[in-house]
Symmetry: C2
Subunit: 629 residues, 2 copies
């Protein structure tokens, strides 16, 4: 029953051999690896316009050249990544490319930057999606954080089912998004051209505020830096090449080209329409309207088409987080396989997905959403530093790759250009956004890298300790000394003692007396000790076996665990070279909640023995199952 609920939520378990059926063609690849890049068209222009609010009406003049610069940068990065796909058909994420060509440090730096970026991609995608929803349905304004978290849960569950089904789930909204937003833009441009560049909006957007600052380089750079968030997610395809259908390079390149072309057209179209329709950003808070909501309402009015478009924006933005869920776990696996992240991150779960990676991402993303209240604007400044740092290291690595593998001059030139352009962007983004949040990213990167190196050192030292086991010591094979704690004589302790006889003839039965020092220990002795001396010892003697030694320990502080551990350690010290087996008879209840009814001495004893023991002390758990209660 419990299993079938799990199957329903997560799908049936998949065999390792079913892996190849989980590969993607371009049609399914665009939703899986392109949602992030495409979805960012919805928050990139908005982020740039938000920085320009202080310029008033001039903001819609400057958005056009800023967008053009971003699209040029996008083109350079596109050409670079085409070459990466070609050179690394087995998957050439920044971690691999930088690591193989520039060394471990550069690889881990790129990986760290990218990991931070994926977490932010997920958080920003979800929060911007909810922002679109709130623009359409202002009543939902107080529930922003709750909506964000609900969407996060859905995405997490879908991803735990596995990547092929993920592709299908996200296909319809992605193509509907391209069709509806693309349609709006085409229609808007047509209307604008017919009206000589000055179309009449069907729903007039809120008036642009009056300027409060003069145009300056600083504000334009900040707007450019914010707008660059539109480019995050571009590396997803090259990172995930291995997930594509044969011929891998061809499928991946077609997917990348389609994604970048759509993204560039969307960005340019939005910028042009903002200028034509006089649409600027609106400060967050009550009355907030996203740029895309204003734009759609201006072009088509608030009719069914508006709601379909905004619905698709919501879905695509929210699910653009899915790119992070597809790529973050794959990245973690690569790093974990190299020993720089915990090994459970490299293990695939029952549905062939990296369960732990997905879970870690979901938790980090949830924490971020809660911390920043689900407001996109507060998350944007942390963003983009990571993505562009990874771009830079990846392109620089590609330059190294071509130099060593006799690449053509064109190859080298394109990747070097990409590296320089993105390096410049990293500097612009870090400097202009430092105080607004980029400092957090700048601080996290060295902390995470330190953690990674110390994890690797731990594994190395561990490996050195457990490797080269040498020979078995078979000359000294000898039954262990058995320590058998016994509080009372019943079927549970009898089962333990019975097993003790199977193990060894040297048995020490330990009874802990918790009575007051003076009065009752005699009574307690009467109960257990008398029965032991009278009946049990007699029985053993008659059978010809060696009679176990009874040791009564007093415990004035009522602790029963530590005296037993101490006694085992004492015996171990007295018998060098021998192994001590401590038998822990354990009552196993049928239902977990019945555990509250017992004092869990067996569990505490096992834990204490593990913590305070040593390699010669072995714990033998003899379970005693209750029939049915």
């Amino acid at each position: 029953m419990a299993m079938s609920v799990i199957d329903f939520l997560f799908g049936r378990p998949l065999r390792s051999s079913e892996e190849s059926t989980e590969r993607l063609g371009p049609a399914a690849g665009i939703p899986v690896f392109g949602l992030d890049a495409l979805g960012s068209a919805a928050y990139g222009p908005e982020a740039a316009l938000t920085l320009l609010i202080s310029l008033g009406a001039l903001s819609i003049i400057y958005i056009v050249p800023i967008t053009i610069s971003i699209v040029v940068l996008l083109g350079i990065v596109y050409l670079s990544y085409r070459q990466t796909i070609e050179a690394y058909p087995q998957g050439g994420g920044s971690y691999t490319v930088a690591g193989q060509n520039l060394g471990v440090f550069a690889g881990l730096l790129a990986a760290t930057a990218l990991m931070i970026d994926y977490v932010l991609t997920a958080a920003v995608g979800i929060s911007a999606g909810v922002g679109a929803l709130v623009s359409a349905v202002p009543k939902l304004h107080p529930h922003i954080l709750g909506l964000c978290l609900a969407i996060l849960v859905v995405i997490t569950l879908v991803n735990l089912r596995g990547s092929r089904e993920t592709g299908f789930v996200f296909m319809i909204p992605t193509y509907l998004f391209l069709a509806s937003l693309g349609g709006t833009i085409v229609l808007g441009i047509g209307k604008a051209l017919l009206a000589g560049g000055h179309p009449t909006p069907i729903e007039t957007p809120p008036p642009l505020p009056s300027a409060t600052a003069a145009v300056g380089l600083w504000v334009l750079l900040k707007a450019f830096a914010s707008g660059c968030t539109a480019m995050t997610g571009v590396e997803a395809v090259s990172n995930g090449v291995a997930a594509f259908k044969e011929p891998v390079v061809h499928s991946a390149r077609r997917t990348l080209t389609t994604i970048i072309a759509c993204l560039a057209l969307l960005l340019l179209g939005i910028a042009y329409l903002c200028r034509a329709y006089h649409i600027g950003a609106v400060e967050p808070g009550p009355g907030y309207q996203s740029v895309l909501s204003q734009l759609t309402a201006a072009v088509v009015g608030r009719n069914v088409f508006y709601y379909v478009t905004i619905g698709c924006v919501l879905l695509v933005l929210a699910f653009s987080a899915n790119t992070a869920f597809a790529d973050f776990p794959r990245l973690c696996r690569l790093i974990a396989e190299d020993g720089y992240l915990p090994i459970p991150l490299a293990e695939r779960g029952r549905r062939l997905v990296y369960t732990w990676g997905i879970t870690v991402l979901a938790l980090l993303c949830g924490a971020l959403l809660i911390l920043f209240g689900g407001v996109t604007d507060r998350l944007i400044p942390l963003f983009a530093v990571g993505a562009f740092l990874a771009f830079t290291l990846s392109q620089a690595g590609m330059v190294g790759h071509w130099l060593r593998n006799n690449g053509s001059r064109m190859h080298i030139f394109l990747n070097a250009l990409g590296a320089l352009a993105t390096a410049g962007t990293v500097i612009i983004v870090t400097v202009t956004k430092f105080l607004a949040g980029a400092w957090i990213t700048t601080l996290l990167i060295p902390i995470i890298m330190l953690m990674m190196f110390s994890i690797r050192r731990h594994y190395d030292e561990l490996q050195a300790q457990i490797a080269q086991p040498g020979h078995l010591d078979l000359a000294k094979v000898r039954p262990p000394i058995v320590v058998m704690p016994m509080m009372a004589w019943n079927r549970v302790s009898r089962a333990g003692l019975q097993f003790a006889f199977n193990l060894s003839s040297e048995i020490y039965v330990v009874h802990v007396s918790t009575a007051k020092d003076d009065a009752s220990p005699e009574k307690e002795k009467d109960e257990f000790v008398r029965y032991w001396r009278g009946t049990v010892e007699e029985e053993v003697r008659k059978s010809g076996l060696q009679v176990p030694q009874l040791k009564v320990l007093k415990s004035p502080y009522r602790a029963v665990i530590m005296p037993i551990v101490d006694y085992a350690l004492e015996l171990e010290a007295k018998h060098p070279g021998r192994q001590i087996a401590v038998i822990v008879p354990e009552l196993v209840e049928k239902h977990w909640y019945h555990n509250f009814l017992h004092n869990q001495r067996a569990r505490w004893l096992k834990t204490a023995l593990l913590l305070r023991g040593n390699r010669r002390i072995v714990i033998v758990d003899v379970p005693w199952y209750i029939d049915k209660i």
Copy 2:
């Protein structure tokens, strides 16, 4: 280091023989067992006046007869409990008295009522204390719940240290409270008498609202029922007689007499002054002022004395919760010793206090405070039902006691009177408060009792199953069959195998292959299986010992735990009468957080074996400690 922090917070561990030094005289007994009763003077009159708000100016007329009825009832209950202390010098709580004289059902009913009551006592005490604080410092109004929880934490820590020190901690505020509030009342009465019953307040209390309802029996009964909360906590002394110094009965009676006399005088004094100074209750919310705050400000003004008095009210109210912390765990212990509550509740911790009882009470009280936002008025209606039900059952039990033990007519009469009076009150409280919250209590009582009976049944059946172990089966002593899972050959698995040879000569080494069905298993076989066949088997053969059988299990779903468990079950089925020892080699890290670096297979395997195994499958945990990383 960790130990010394614990010692600092909770005090050094105490020997069982130190118990007698933990007993109380009347001077320390009043704070420990009387804080609840005395503190309720601060919320009882207020609760009654709150119900009378709708009567406007008439409320202060009717508060006097209502208070007199409550004090008469208090007198009857006092006389009853004096007799209980006499008859049960070893501690005569309602559970004991009702259980011994009216049967198990009545005893558990009384106990359940009392347990609910203790939780409410703690919650109401704390919330009313914070109410007093907020009256004096209105700025703190938004932090009511936070303050409540902080006080709860302090009380819990103090109680985990043990009861004698608890007495000392609460002594000063208790006596300061009696002195300052008593002083205010005496001064106020003096002023009122001098002014012919119409004194001039120094700070004029808020005007009484105009009447919105006519005087009726229903509203007076409701006010009476709410005012009865002032009587909760009166049974604490008789319940805890055993904690007093010798002569026990004398000490306990003197303590009870003092508590009741002080309480009666406070209640009458407050009622008189409310009437003389025209002080009514104020609705909760901003601008809230507690009755005691108005009263003190009216009599002495808002000077240092006012703040001292309110400070003492806060401390006493908040710490009146302490009565619950002293008595709830003791009650739980009695019930647990009879098998109706989980046995851990009957065990004393390192400081001779019932750690689990205190913890459970703290959690329930915290939940209640969070649920009701720390507002006293919302908690009051749940209250009092439990206390008066316990009173009734206890007095009725005493009647039975005297009948069977030849008590005097006076004895029988007083307890019967007490039973009737309190039974009447139970009916009034339940009926008048049913919709406002008493239904919750009425519903909880049968649920908790059902739980208690099913716990007892569980213990009984368990006892029946494990008792009478019969004879050891010593004819069949024979080494177990050993199952040894091995993923790789290293020092950890070598240590496990080494121990396996100590146990038995029948060893099955199980290797789980998680590779894809077709390709890589051969490679995997190469790595481990080849080494095993080539080196290890050879080594064992040379030593003359029996070579362990190697079994390779394939796991297409990448699960490594279940195949091992299934194999152990299979072996067990094949060898009836034999015991199977599954050896689980376990890497023990020095730091707990290092556990995240490993996939915890050993732990999962142990859990799965315990859950799916049976009595013939024994788990042998061979720890391998890492030296120092």
